[in-house]
């Protein structure tokens, strides 16, 4: 039995132990949950579109009709200890690197001594979305899924550590500052079948400042992740670059291997967002930049704009999202023409970097219909065009870089 599964069992049994004690201290557990049943169809059989990099396969090549990409189920348990302290546990099953095996996405205690201060410790959500620190609750947002071009390349959704929020009324609104620190635990697929890039034990540090008024939210955020582990498929290339033979010919080769490797390298994530919410109208604009100290991961930038307008139970919405590499130039410090081996190595070096470029554009049109107080159904059309293959899987030779998706999702909370 995997350790994660046994941990899950442990936490469930702890909760059931806790349950009978509750009547005595009169502080009930609040049990709630959420879920999505999603269906996606793709018009291209030459590529798999995935929701994010933790998914190894998706819709299109592996299956033309997919129930797994957006479907998920989560349970959340909250307990108040007293007026200022509460605890939460959240367990989610979705298609990720562990393929629907339930994961503990939160387990924290929170201390709220006043409206101006909040401290939390434990397993916490990594909140990069402007309006929530989870991207799994389909019921709560307009789209069938958060824009892939923007959120798909983020490989962290939770971490073990602590955070602090300070808030102060300012003018007509509230100013907030948040800092967090901890270690990442997740892993993600590399694009090669059954091969993972683990972010486990990588140190995460970041924060954001935010200003919220009745109708507007403005936020600026920064996060850095110091990578602990290397990219498995990079190992042969690193070994070759470090070989005594090559370093005899090109003394800079070993240094190149260290520049390329991920171990100990810092990844930096910058984001800025604006959300507007006035009665039936909702709009969001977000920008981000992901860069790293490793030669392997060049800087990519992404943005999305989404606008929705409610008419009774119906909310039509539109989203435009795009990601672009900041600079396509790859300097190749390995001189050409010394030997075919070295030329091959140079090509491998270039390819490894090119694989991390992210050039993708999506136009989405959708309609959300509020079915009951606790459920909705959404229909969405996505037109995706792709020049780099970072955010897709199983792209076949000759694919024209285009895919159209039709998605239907039923979302509920309880």
């Amino acid at each position: 039995m995997s350790s994660r599964f046994s941990r899950l069992l442990l936490s469930i049994s702890m909760l059931s132990l806790a349950a009978p004690c509750l009547a005595a201290d009169d502080k009930p557990l609040f049990i709630s949950g959420f879920g999505t049943l999603g269906l996606v169809l793709s018009d291209s059989r030459q590529v798999d579109v995935v929701r994010d990099l933790t998914q190894n396969d998706g819709v299109g090549f592996t299956r033309q009709t997919d129930f797994g990409m957006d479907s998920n189920f989560g349970i959340q348990i909250n307990k108040n200890i007293n007026d200022n302290i509460d605890t939460a546990l959240q367990i989610v099953s979705r298609r990720s690197a562990n393929n629907f095996q339930p994961e503990i996405t939160w387990a924290y205690g929170r201390y709220l001594p006043s409206d101006n201060l909040q401290l939390r410790a434990g397993r916490l959500g990594f909140d990069v979305y402007l309006l929530a620190d989870s991207r799994n609750i389909g019921y709560s947002y307009q789209w069938v899924r958060p824009p892939i071009d923007f959120f798909g390349s983020l490989i962290i959704s939770y971490f073990d550590g602590a955070d602090m929020i300070i808030s102060k009324p300012l003018g007509d609104g509230v100013f907030r500052a948040k800092v967090f620190a901890g270690v990442a635990r997740e892993k993600t697929f590399t694009g090669n079948t059954d091969e993972f890039l683990s972010s486990n034990r990588s140190r995460l540090l970041g924060g954001h400042i935010e200003y919220q008024t009745q109708n507007w939210i403005f936020r600026l955020g920064y996060t850095q992740l110091r990578f602990k582990n290397d990219f498995p498929s990079l190992q042969p290339l690193l070994d070759s670059l470090r070989s005594p033979y090559l370093n005899g010919l090109i003394p800079s080769a070993a240094g190149l291997a260290s520049d390329l490797s991920l171990e100990g390298k810092k990844f930096k994530y910058l984001s800025a967002g604006i959300a507007y919410d006035q009665g039936p109208l909702q709009a969001q604009l977000m920008l981000n930049q992901l860069s790293s100290e490793s030669l392997l991961f060049p800087t990519n930038r992404a943005a999305y704009l989404t606008v929705g307008y409610r008419i009774d139970q119906w909310t039509p919405y539109f989203t435009y999202s795009a990601s672009r590499p900041a600079d396509r130039k790859i300097s190749n410090p390995l001189p050409a023409g010394i030997s075919p081996d070295i030329d091959m190595l140079a090509a491998g070096f270039k390819q490894a970097i090119e694989n991390q470029f992210n050039h993708q554009t999506t136009i989405s049109l959708g309609l959300r219909y509020d079915l009951t107080e606790k459920s909705n159904i959404k229909l969405q059309y996505d037109n995706i065009s792709i020049k780099d293959y970072l955010l897709v899987r199983n792209n076949q030779a000759g694919w024209n870089g285009r895919a159209n998706l039709i998605s239907v999702a039923y979302n509920f909370i309880f």
């Binding site: 709630s32 989560g74 929170r110 006043s114 409206d115 929530a132 009745q214 009665g279």
Partner: protein, 142 residues
């Protein structure tokens, strides 16, 4: 053009109905220490942005179950949102660890009972239901 027409229709619908919504008032316990709340303060308490009252105690905002027509009117008046939007707002906060929605009670009489006996409770009722047990702290017509 049709969309614009719809938009106009809705704008006029909302402005016409502001008057009809004005018969709702926000109440607290006479011993709560609250004199008056501004609309922003009511929004902050009902939308979970603030939890504490000026007296330092945790506020206990009360909501009505959706079968009560007052609930939809209250949120339309307060933030111009319908109930599914209010629910998805709370789903976002609740499932991202930022708070939980106001306690829900079944009837206006329960609101009056709880507010009348609890210094931290606040609620909304129709103006004509005001009685001695509670104190008016926010009147949208003023």
């Amino acid at each position: 053009m049709k969309a614009l027409y719809h938009l106009l229709l809705y704008v006029s619908f909302w402005s016409c109905c502001q008057a009809a919504q004005a018969d709702l008032v926000v109440i607290a316990n006479p011993q709560s220490g609250i004199e008056k709340l501004s609309k922003d303060e009511v929004i902050n308490l009902y939308m979970g942005r603030n939890r504490k009252l000026a007296t330092g105690v945790n506020a206990m905002p009360l909501d009505l179950a959706a079968v009560n027509a007052e609930k939809a009117r209250f949120y339309a008046m307060l933030v111009n949102k319908n109930l599914p939007e209010i629910n998805s707002y709370w789903a976002r906060l609740m499932f991202s660890g930022q708070g939980s929605p106001p306690l829900q009670v079944e009837t206006t009489d329960e609101v009056l009972d709880i507010v009348g006996s609890n210094k931290a409770a606040i609620g909304y009722i129709e103006r004509k239901k005001l009685d001695k047990r509670v104190k008016l702290i926010y009147d949208p017509t003023q």
